[in-house]
Symmetry: C2
Subunit: 300 residues, 2 copies
DNA sequence: TAAGGTTACGGCGATCGTAACGATC
DNA sequence: GATCGTTACGATCGCCGTAACCTTA
């Protein structure tokens, strides 16, 4: 058994049990892959993959259990390299941030600018995706950390840090009838609503609040992205419900924002990363910057 | 990086940073070890070991962090082999049981006999040691499971299963003055006592009980081993305090046993093993046998 | 000076690549 | 018949062993 065989198992997994694709990924010829797999299975004394004829179609029960250990080894191996690289030069590296559009646009700019000042040698990749996919990206190790509001609590492989708490707000054009007067769920529900898609940016809190009150919103437009919502609010399509933190008093001065914290339970934005994954010192610093920015947000 | 380098790091660790000893353990010449270590450190770009001249004297800060990952990899690697061996033939293998004399003699015989009937191909090694050392043996992977009463709760790497609860008892020769009349701590404390050594078989419970009552026992003989205690009780040296489960009504019919459950808090015997360590199916079966035997003990 | 670690070099074996073959959709 | 996997064989590169050298208790 050796590390390239372990690596091979991972790559076969990631390429739908295709040895030829795996060989491409590993930059060696297919016959070499075939032989290494045979050697490995021979050493174990039992096949790892289910086969139909010669073709691999899945894992055997043995293979299933082994893949857990394989994942552990690969994780530890990359950790070793990451730890060493961090020691050699802690200002050099890559940071993959997975997040949603709203966070990327309204929360991250300040911490990212500050981070870049201290770590100019670190390349930053912003991966925008749905909350569901953010978690997948962590597991696939395409992202180092994820910043999001929904769907992170359940996963035992993830370390989750609370970042900040925020409330929803309505936005309407100036002079809109909803820009004045008492805000109740009943009144809100009487307007056509524009808000986030399911699974995005606290949409679940909105649903919960309405369900508890036995009501339903007339959501005529859902978007993953606050800017899209604002755009259609400006066009007079209806009332926008967005994250309060996504209202910019200067840019959005043509819109009236009204807080909904008394109607919709708060949402909590969190930072998540793989528990067993080593985070370079600059990544830990970036998390600190996020938490500082979060505190500042709370202070305002 | 490859697995033998990772293995090498582990072995260097286990041999006080001596490359020559490590080379013997790995059955290769010392120069090969030296070169592999150099290659590894070159790959990381930073030394793993602190050196005085040419001699290795310890880990660098980098090395310290890396050794955690190394341990993980080695564990996962042996797990893979163990899982495979279990699949190939789940009736063949080795079981290392670390325990104290008292458990080995008075609790384990029945479950071990039953276990052997079902798994005649499994070789059993009984490692007797002090509770302190039992845990060390688990960590050093010299033992697969440990059965003991003391010192297991603190360790987060260990999975601990409750096995059975028992009480201490006094044993005295027949016609001894303590064989009749009310049993109190005061009365007990007036006799010379023979019991377990510190750290063994619930000795801590005895200490706790006495301390709470503001008293002290006159322990004139401590032993790791119930049989030694009984022997000297028979010689009239004093009053024995032993585990109630270690009294055999037939063999020990010349001794009178009197329960102390109203005076000394109960002790709990547990089964412990490394969380991340794969246990072959026969080992899991053995644990089941232990639990069955424990229930039977409670039923009597 | 003995013991531990490094450097140099030759030989062997593991693993790769080419290529021909076999099987399956 | 095109794609995917296996088998055979020659070539290469990595790793070990021998041996001489360096360094420190």
């Amino acid at each position: 058994m050796n590390l390239s065989q372990i690596e091979l198992l991972r790559i076969i997994q990631e390429n739908d049990f295709s040895l030829s694709k795996a060989s491409e990924k590993m930059h060696i010829v297919q016959s070499a892959v075939s032989r290494q797999l045979q050697l490995f299975e021979a050493e174990l004394g039992s096949p790892v993959y289910e086969r139909q004829g010669k073709r691999l179609v899945g894992l055997t029960p043995l293979g299933l259990r082994i893949m857990e250990q394989v994942a552990t080894i690969n994780m530890a191996k990359t950790n070793i390299l990451a730890i060493a690289a961090d020691f050699v030069d802690s200002n050099q590296g890559v940071l993959h941030i997975a997040t949603t559009h709203t966070q990327a646009k309204y929360f991250l700019p300040k911490p990212i600018l500050r981070f870049r000042e201290k770590f100019p040698g670190v390349r930053i990749y912003m991966l925008e995706a749905s909350p569901e996919q953010l978690i997948n990206k962590l597991h696939a190790r395409e992202a180092d950390i994820a910043i999001c509001t929904e769907k992170v609590a359940e996963d035992s492989d993830l370390a989750v840090k609370f970042c900040y708490e925020w409330h929803h707000a309505v936005v309407v054009p100036q002079m809109h009838t909803l820009s004045e007067g008492e805000l109740t769920l009943e009144r809100l529900a009487s307007y056509p609503i524009l808000t986030y898609s399911f699974g995005f940016t606290g949409r679940s809190s909105i649903e919960t609040a309405l369900k508890d009150a036995g009501m339903e919103l007339d959501v005529i437009l859902s978007a993953a992205d606050t800017d899209v919502i604002k755009t259609y609010v400006r066009l007079g399509m209806g009332v926008g419900i967005i994250a309060g933190t996504a209202y910019d008093p200067i840019i959005d001065k043509d819109l009236v924002m009204r807080d909904l914290s008394h109607l919709i339970p708060s949402s909590k934005t969190k930072i998540a990363y793989l528990k067993n994954n080593y985070l370079p010192s600059y990544t830990q610093h970036f998390i600190d910057e996020l938490l500082i920015a979060a505190v500042e947000l709370g202070g305002n």
